[in-house]
Amino acid sequence: MNLRHVANGALLAVILAVAAVVQHTSPGDGGWQQPIEVTGTVGDRVEGRNIAATVWSAQVAREVQTSDWTGQTTGIWVVVDVSAEAVVDEFAARLGTAQLVIGDETFSASERPDLDTVYRNSLSVGIPTRGPLFFEIPTDALGKARLQLGIDSDPRLDSLLVIPLDLSQLEVRDSATANDVQWGAE
């Protein structure tokens, strides 16, 4: 009889220990809603569920120009040349999330260039749209960054493309001119 009690007690202890481990390692409220990250490098085609993108290059400049706009800032500009396309369907498919995460700060792509940026452009399945993304950041933030791209402005629960960029390695130009947005370009 005594052995059975000991065995029951041991089993109970094991179950409690497992329960504690499960509780501590389960994702919290925010955790289970996290975006599904897909990482890639500059020059690679990075593909998620319904978004695929290739980052061609990044530049740093004090002033930027497009065919219809000149951008001045009290900080500094990071211009990223990117192609993006949808993968399976075009329902609500647009480049809705474009962020630069540097340290613990998050910067969103600028809407100042209006139509001259590919930010928030609608995406076609299998047909890339190529254009610039502009980020305004403080001058002391030129360090290691993560470029994050996603289909919806709320990146939770869907693919988030992550491309690391080392901004400290880029030459700081006085001005940079960006190309127009082109549908169907490589």
Binding site: V87, V88, D89, E90, F91, S124, V125, G126, I127, W183, G184, A185
Partner: protein
């Protein structure tokens, strides 16, 4: 004797019933309000759907590299697919023929691989020629034909279907093989 088996019987009956009812409760409206039940139509066939007759009468493809493709301004490595659909409205709703949303689907057997929305706002120089309407036209209540056109990458497969969604008929929708 029977009394010993009553609990077992209860589980055997109640378990599937519980699962079924819970599934219906949670997912019923999801599937109901989506085009989730395709009505497949073989190539060239006419079908009665939602009180209206539908039939694909013409399909044409223009490659970007061709002369007409260049005139239209198709981006490199794409093709234009134009579909002509004949609509014969029989039963009108509020005096109007049904409105449909068209999309092009790339199929692999029964599975949809990719789908494209129509190219109405695409940056190309194309429009269906008179007397074709541009997509479904509810104001036209007699027999008419409309053109639906799509710009797709040239790596799209051979098996393409035109999908027509009529919101009153959801979750059923028409899938016309091309």
């Amino acid at each position: 004797m029977i009394r010993r088996w009553v609990p077992v019987l209860a589980v055997v009956v109640l378990l599937p019933l519980t699962i079924g009812i819970t599934f219906q409760n949670e997912w019923g409206s999801y599937y109901q309000n989506r085009p989730s039940q395709p009505v497949d139509v073989a190539k060239g066939d006419r079908v009665e759907f939602g009180g209206t007759g539908w039939q694909v009468t013409e399909v044409s493809t223009t490659e970007a590299s061709s002369a007409s493709g260049e005139e239209i301004g198709l981006p490199a490595h794409t093709r234009l697919v134009t579909v002509t659909v004949q609509v014969s409205p029989d039963e009108l709703i509020d005096g109007l023929s049904p409105y449909c949303m068209a999309s092009l689907q790339e199929m692999a057997g029964d599975r949809v691989l990719r789908s494209w929305d129509d190219a109405t706002f695409a940056d190309i120089d194309y429009a269906p020629e008179e007397p074709l309407e541009w997509g479904c036209t509810p104001e036209t209540t007699s027999l008419y034909e409309f053109g639906a056109w799509f710009v797709i990458p040239d790596d799209a497969g051979e098996q393409l279907s035109l999908s027509l969604e009529v919101s009153e008929q959801q979750p059923r929708y028409l899938r016309l093989a091309l």
